[in-house]
Symmetry: C2
Subunit: 143 residues, 2 copies
Amino acid sequence: MHAALAAAHGAAADGEVPVGAVITCEGRIVASAGNAPRGQCDPTAHAEIRAIRQAAQALGRDRLEDCDLWVTLEPCAMCAGAIAHARIARLYYGASDPKGGAVEHGPRLFSQPTCHHRPEIYGGIGEREAAGLLRDFFRDRRA
Amino acid sequence: MHAALAAAHGAAADGEVPVGAVITCEGRIVASAGNAPRGQCDPTAHAEIRAIRQAAQALGRDRLEDCDLWVTLEPCAMCAGAIAHARIARLYYGASDPKGGAVEHGPRLFSQPTCHHRPEIYGGIGEREAAGLLRDFFRDRRA
């Protein structure tokens, strides 16, 4: 999660909402990305989507059954859907997101009967730093 | 929808599940893509995601408020989430998807209170051809 938090700091430095994600495969980091929809001019460029795409490229396959995803914020519906498509084994996330999260909030995507893959899920990992980073970012933006 | 169906035929020819998507802006096609997770080695490479990324690149912005998306199959949760993030104005889709769809099935994403953008939605456009294409593809794959 330290690497995911570092990617989130990088996103903040680029003026993006500070969320970072890392994918590990057998304990080794195979992808790391910050949130970058503005910089990349791509509304799908959330940290999780970018990390999944990077990992799939690096490993040369579109299923990541032996990979874990670490992200500083509860994934939204788009990213939770991508995690299911990628068959990620374990999802570790930091801060919860009552407004946009889709794991423990809103559609609770992995609990839907139509969800075809549910990772093991661990929330609240590094939550304090992840949430603080987001709070500071939005406070500075309002200032 | 003819162009989206053509993109779906292209996906089938490449051995991918035949779904195609097109984005129009003021009546002009700005992006067109077929489903390609295997070919692109990218679990997020659904037709809708590819078309949204293409359109955002072409228009040089990450919000597509003046764009419509045409897709041959009811979008899944990942793609419906991306459509909301991209602020697509109107969504036209062909066949419904009781197994994986997230518009009129499963999480019904655009009806969730946490959904921050809901396009106008028109289902069943070119449904017969879109559904036939999928049926033929899965029949041939089982054969």
